[in-house]
Symmetry: C2
Subunit: 432 residues, 2 copies
Amino acid sequence: MEEQKPIGIGLMGMGVIGGQVAQVLTERAVQLADRIGRPIELRKIKIIESDFLRRQVQDMDQSLFTTSDEEFFNMPEIDIVIELIGGEHPAYEYIKRLLGSGKHVVTANKEVIAKHGAELRELARHHNVGLRYEASVGGGIPLIASFEHDLIANCIKGIYAIINGTTNYILSTMAKEGTEFSVALSQAQKLGYAEANPCNDIEGIDAAYKIAILATLAFRSHVHPDQVFCEGISRLSWKDFQYANEMGFVIKLLAIAKQEQNQIEVRVHPAFIPEDSFLANVDGVYNAVLVDGDLTGQVTFTGKGAGAQATSSAVAADVVAIARGIVNGQNVLVHLDDENKPIKPMTSVVTRFFMRMLIADQSGVLAQVAFTLGSRNISISSAIQKETMPDQMAEIVIMTHPASEESIQAAYADLTKLSVVKEVHNIIRVEA
Amino acid sequence: MEEQKPIGIGLMGMGVIGGQVAQVLTERAVQLADRIGRPIELRKIKIIESDFLRRQVQDMDQSLFTTSDEEFFNMPEIDIVIELIGGEHPAYEYIKRLLGSGKHVVTANKEVIAKHGAELRELARHHNVGLRYEASVGGGIPLIASFEHDLIANCIKGIYAIINGTTNYILSTMAKEGTEFSVALSQAQKLGYAEANPCNDIEGIDAAYKIAILATLAFRSHVHPDQVFCEGISRLSWKDFQYANEMGFVIKLLAIAKQEQNQIEVRVHPAFIPEDSFLANVDGVYNAVLVDGDLTGQVTFTGKGAGAQATSSAVAADVVAIARGIVNGQNVLVHLDDENKPIKPMTSVVTRFFMRMLIADQSGVLAQVAFTLGSRNISISSAIQKETMPDQMAEIVIMTHPASEESIQAAYADLTKLSVVKEVHNIIRVEA
């Protein structure tokens, strides 16, 4: 086998993940060559000037590195390029240029794939090269390949996922330690689970990218992240967790994608879920995905959703998949029909709701609240008046029966106009 | 696409699963053709005379069926054959003949793959055809493909699985309802979860086939079912469940495969596992597999491990995978190096043990038992004397510290010789 011409690999980006991937490709070269049927060779790593200060760069053969786009993009001895720069730009332009010049591409870039997947898959198909992105969702959990291959005979009814480790860690901490959001966040930042600028994670944007990618594969219809309703976790209070616990629920940031009558429903938001449900017991930085297929029934996956090692496992698997295709004289690109099924407007999405509000502690107030909700066709399944606060105020929590987003928004507006309602603290969707 | 020459499918076996697979291939022909890039066509179904009495046969176009081996094996218009006869013979001979004559084969036959996988993969490789068996383990859960592709860069450290739905249903029932084994078994038989002759399931043989297949893939070394230590569940009593529960454990039939210093440990037996562990919460007919990869860390999969629909999902996925290979002018057979790594002898396997025995209710007896265990280098982590029985007898349960299988067997022999030990009811391994 050693006499065979090796398959050339190029790598872009040498952060923590890039360093780990470079290590796996070099240290496991023999094992991977055996899996592929031909050796692979990491031939060039494109970095930026400041990367030379990084430990993982200084530890490697310096002749592997270049900061020159021209040099990197014009190496005929590179067959597959691994993009680990992250972010939309310039990664998107780089991937386009690579596919256009006939290079196979492996990427962990969820933002680029979520926003430009349809275009890039089309481009890859046109140039007959592979484009794989297993690492873009769920780290080392085999999700992309499962949708592309193993579940392919199914009509996927729904996907229910915890796919952002940062927020799941924060929510787990708030639930376990009764801390406020800000405290849990800074704790996550200290531990390196949250970035200095955590916006993408805590606002649910990262999860929206990921569910857009999964929904696109599962429903075979391009779902753009802009079409994903997205609500973050920053408004959650320890009190919401306390009440959830009393009611037998857990609060998780869920990414949900459903398909009904060829219409797609896709959303990311905090949700009450029953404490004995599968997703309720997924804590910390772990990710979990429940797929409901019409043939398989419910299939679940869990694992580390992030981290250099888990990500490198997925990246290496993609490299092997493409390399096997090269050995077999074909690429591994999967035929994707990008239909554009309609997205259900969020206003018509129906769930139960948990409401927590501060009201005047007087007789008849609860009746007024109930009447206001009723006039928007929202019926109450349970209402509990919690401890009385200073100045004749009382906190009540309400669990509604299923109601549309539209009616709950209208009811919220009505409630805020009621003189007896001091404040509506929070409204959280409930997923049974 | 309709003008393209369809890929011809042949089916052997028309039981419940065969009927479901035939239905999926025909009713979802358009969807599958779209995934493949070329139409597929179910062209012939090989059955035996008595199958004509089956509903699923009578409901279909009769010209699809044949009882003639000669006719079926000599149809050039069949490219892929799906074997769903089950059992070792004649399925094994059929698959050999098919591969030898250049047909691609998809099978759900765990016994044939577990016993003859190495030979059949070699035969398929030699004839450059595909051999796929996703449905042989875990029904609709993507396990085979995950080991073949997604986890391939990992060194798999261990697999811990509940892969027999029948026994898991029985154990769940015994735990939940406190029934004896025989009662739970007949209940499972009434519900169709257990066969009239349940031996293969309750003795752990079915699970041994499955873990042999997974271990072979995960460790890239052929593991024959004869090399799998196998102990069934028929000796378990409701009392064991009661004590397990008191001690914070659950009893499951586990299939375990580990790799340490290139030595493989593989076994199937009932085990105490902590009640808060992942596998402890998998009940009823569900299957669950925990894979510990050195890069991914722990990845888990759950889903329906059996049933016609879940199985048909896996079979159809295999058909699509092979058909895509045909369209691309290559087969999807994965290069497998069948090393033969040494199998660790069961006698040197080390676990903790739960022991339940009946002893004479006299002072000093526990000391004698402890001494006997100690003389075999088995130390006791906890011992509880349970309720006194008639005739001055008492039941005690002991939890040991880690000890080798060899020493526990020797200790068992010693204990049975002690006059004060009336009976050693059960010894159950403990997996932390």
